[in-house]
């Protein structure tokens, strides 16, 4: 048995860069008959034009509408026993394929062709505009509380593009997308020098290199614009918004600006939110849901964004509990943390939980591949192996200091989601 789990969960990898600027991470795992090919493009909804939001995500859908030399993306992959999916967030767009390791070349063939060029079919755009509109309705509009992020983001962010959600500000932005917009977006962002490729599983390094040379090396680099996002000014005054809607219970959302993914305090922020809101023994769940029964559920977490992200406290109140009472109770807990800090056992507890959940996640080849891609696009794939050490180094003082600095009224954005009578 391995006595140092940190060591056991070390992910071995090799990095190399092609001449066209494509960064490649190779991770060998001979214990599986499978392989993963993960392509991460360094473009997310934060890179969108404020008048054309929802575009990065719409574009993700269009990536499945056929490429320059391959009419259909999904079918040839299914034919070799593979499956794929993709996701877009505010920071990146990520595509992955899982398939039998024997058939890895099919994944190279498909991914390189759509990096080279899409087919840009009018029909595909028409259909995917509809599909994404239905996704917008299903997830954001036709659901109680579904529009929370469409309201909370513009409250918390005044200038940074995090002020809109990945789905877009409004349906019309998606409905108005033209083929010309699509082409321009592709040209700007879908280039080898704006991507990270991860090859993992039962594929030798030699094979990986050979296939990269064959399929990806011929793709020309592009002039990718340097990212120059307007940074959010430091918030100096509390903001709030009240929405009245046909929902069965009042809900409370409190958002603070936190730190970026690369900030050294990131791990402190993560542990702090776990102490406050992860699991049944967390502070807020215990005191607000179980003991005082003010909320039917409560959570505290952060968004994990690359740029300064939000720390969220949220819950639905119990029938008869006013939002004011609920809000006061949340603030009492926050003030208590700032005043007294946390206990040593509490900190050890959340560190232990992170250790086991990290090990759990890293058991999956796909999770490992995505984690490597995310770490590499932010500058260093090896971050995946350093995380547990960073968590271990956090002290009680760090937590208390962070709470005092960030969980303040001046840095707060409160959304009262009230049920209509």
């Amino acid at each position: 048995m391995c006595s140092i789990p940190y060591f056991c969960s070390m992910i071995n990898f090799t990095k190399f860069t092609l001449e066209n600027g494509l960064r490649v991470v190779h991770h060998l795992d001979e214990s599986t008959p499978l392989a993963v090919l993960n392509v991460l493009y360094d473009v997310g909804s934060r890179d969108e034009d404020p008048e054309k939001t929802g575009f990065a995500h719409l574009f993700e859908h269009l990536m499945f509408g056929g490429s320059i030399n391959i009419e259909d993306y999904d079918e040839p992959l299914q034919l070799v026993g593979g499956e794929n999916n993709a996701f877009t967030n505010n920071d990146v767009t990520n595509y992955y394929i899982q398939l039998p390791a024997d058939n890895i070349e099919t994944a190279f063939w498909l991914e390189s062709d759509r990096m080279l060029s899409l087919a840009f079919s009018k029909e595909s755009l028409d259909v995917q505009r509809n599909v994404v509109s239905e996704e917008f309705k299903q997830r954001y509009l036709n659901q109680p509380y579904g529009d929370v992020w469409l309201k909370l983001r513009p409250l918390a962010y005044t200038v940074h593009p995090y002020r809109w959600d990945t789905i877009g500000k409004e349906l019309s932005h998606i409905e108005n997308a033209s083929l010309q917009d699509v082409k321009a977006f592709f040209k700007r962002y879908y280039a080898p020098n704006n991507a990270v490729l991860v090859i993992s599983g039962n594929i030798s390094l030699e094979k990986a290199k050979e296939l990269c040379q064959k399929w990806f090396a011929p793709i020309p680099a592009a002039n990718v614009p340097l990212r120059a996002l307007t940074q959010e000014p430091i918030q100096t005054e509390a903001r709030s918004l009240t929405i009245t809607s046909k929902v069965p219970a009042d809900a409370f959302y409190l958002a603070f600006h936190g730190v970026s993914r690369s900030d050294e305090s990131y791990y402190i922020m993560d542990l702090l939110t776990n102490i406050m809101g992860l699991g049944e023994s967390s502070r807020l769940y215990y005191s607000l849901v179980k003991e005082r029964q003010l909320f039917s559920n409560f959570s505290c977490y952060h968004l994990g964004s690359f740029d300064e992200g939000l720390i969220i406290f949220s819950g639905k109140t119990m029938n008869g509990v006013s939002l004011q009472t609920a809000e006061e109770a949340v603030w009492n807990e926050i003030e208590k943390l700032k005043l007294e800090g946390c206990k040593e056992e509490e900190l050890t507890k959340v560190k232990n939980k992170i250790e086991s959940s990290h090990i759990y996640e890293m058991m999956s080849l796909l999770e490992r591949s995505i984690a490597l891609a995310f770490a590499e696009v932010q500058g260093n794939a090896n971050t995946v192996n350093e995380e547990l050490t960073h968590f271990n180094n956090v002290s009680r003082e760090d937590i208390q200091k962070f709470a005092a600095a960030y969980l303040t009224k001046a840095n707060s954005n409160t959304l009262y989601y009230q049920k209509a009578n």
């Binding site: 099919t106 599909v131 239905e134 179980k290 507890k349 959940s357």
Partner: protein
């Protein structure tokens, strides 16, 4: 010159090996099934009780009994128990299915000995405090109110009611009125009858040493194990078909469910209908997905699946579509069924589905936790490894004619129940 239009050669995965679980007899007569890998430091322990929804005499009792296991025990408050387990980084999970209910513990090997006593306490000594039950029910009612705002949930409840009837445990859907009449005594009785640790089915996967087995055996050898079979209560099966509409004002989208009662896993046609399901709506390349999403853009997604229980299964198609096209969507679903009845699928379409499924089988056998699922399927359902292998072989040998035959048997429109929830 690189030929980008030509697909690279490939191999179809074909030789599958299902690692069988090792069984370790416990001193009380029970058995522990283990899937051992030398790599994974995190253990997964699954404890199955015959405590699924089939045994409930009132809606939500099976689920509430399970929820109450995570409240206070006779020795400790809920918070003290949660803290004790959280301290060692343990995670728990649970699942209440149609017949079985399971509780899962994830723990690092190094903490097993510390965590296990708390886990056993949770499974065996619940306090069932009235006050905690009241709070739980109030929360459940609140959550139910949110759920009932969703067309998909309303449609699902209607399906359950129509499919099984009010007298059947699976036809009893949660309601606020029902929650208000749940008593502590009913929960206690359900627990006493169905949560007997000595009769539980025990499984573990991970890096298992002799020491691990010893710790687990000691902890689980309680009482006297007598039987390993589940006796399922019998109910009169109602068959309800036809189309039903639920009105919800101002719906942007309508929820559609099309379902039928279906044959059990052991039936000779079962594997063929799994392939038929895949072609119809079981994966991204399926006909329904192609038609309703990729061609018409009616929906974000549509899916079809067969879910098993011991005496049969349920075949269910579900989607949410633009409200204005709901009628057209329903007729397209039946049109696709009709097409599978009338025409053989072509070889090419079948090969894609077949190879996709073979790849999925390969993925489903990767890793200790996945392999444990196979061991559980075999053990819990009186199934066998031989039948599993036969199913894998059938994927390779099935022909378009075979598929058409089962389509003619099982896709007849008058055998299906349709529920639509949306705006007129």
């Amino acid at each position: 010159m690189l030929k980008r239009a030509t697909p690279p050669p490939f191999n179809v995965p074909g030789n599958f090996i299902i690692p069988e679980a090792t069984s370790y007899p416990l001193t009380n007569g029970n058995v522990l099934y283990a899937i051992n890998t030398d790599a994974d430091a995190l253990l997964k322990i699954d404890v199955y009780f015959p405590a699924g929804r089939i045994f409930q005499s009132q809606a939500s009792i099976a689920a509430l009994t399970m929820d109450m296991l995570f409240e206070s025990t006779q020795k400790r408050t809920a918070i003290a128990l949660a803290e004790a387990m959280d301290f060692f980084g343990a995670y728990t999970d649970f699942n209440v299915r149609s017949e079985w209910a399971s509780v899962t513990l994830y723990t690092l090997n190094k903490h097993l000995q510390s965590v296990l006593p708390f886990f056993i306490e949770l499974l065996t000594l619940p306090a069932f405090k009235q006050e905690e039950l009241d709070i739980l029910i109030a929360r459940e009612i609140q959550d139910l109110k949110v759920a009932l705002e969703k067309n998909s949930v309303l449609a699902q409840h209607e399906v359950a009611r129509r499919q099984w009837g009010n007298g059947h445990p699976w036809g009893m859907v949660p309601s606020i009125e029902n929650y208000q009449t749940v008593s502590r005594a009913t929960i206690q009785e359900f627990f006493d009858q169905h949560y007997k640790l000595a009769e539980a089915q025990l499984f573990v996967a991970g890096n298992i040493s002799e020491e691990t087995i010893k710790i687990l055996s000691d902890a689980f050898s309680v009482g006297q194990h007598t039987k390993n079979t589940m006796s399922i209560p019998k109910f009169k099966a109602e068959v309800n078909t036809g189309e039903f509409f639920l009105q919800r004002d101002d719906s942007l989208q309508a929820a559609i469910k099309v379902v039928r009662k279906h044959i059990p896993r052991t039936h000779p046609d079962y594997n063929d209908t799994q392939m038929l399901n895949l072609l119809l709506g079981g994966y991204f390349g399926s006909r329904l997905m192609d038609n309703l999403r990729e061609e018409k853009g009616f929906t974000y997604g549509i899916g079809s699946s067969i879910s098993d229980f011991s005496t049969g299964s349920e075949w269910s198609i579900g989607t949410e579509v633009k409200n204005s096209v709901k009628d057209e969507a329903v007729s397209e679903i039946f049109k696709e069924m009709k097409r599978l009845i009338d025409e053989e699928v072509d070889e090419e379409e079948l090969s894609v589905a077949r190879n996709y499924l073979l790849g999925q089988i390969l993925r489903s056998l990767d890793g200790a936790y996945s392999q444990l699922r196979y061991a559980e399927t075999v053990t819990l359902n009186d199934y066998s490894y031989e039948l599993l292998y036969r199913g894998f072989e059938r994927v390779k040998s099935i022909t378009p004619k075979d598929i058409q035959l089962v389509a003619q048997k099982y896709l007849q429109s008058n055998d299906w129940l349709t529920v639509v929830c949306g705006s007129k």
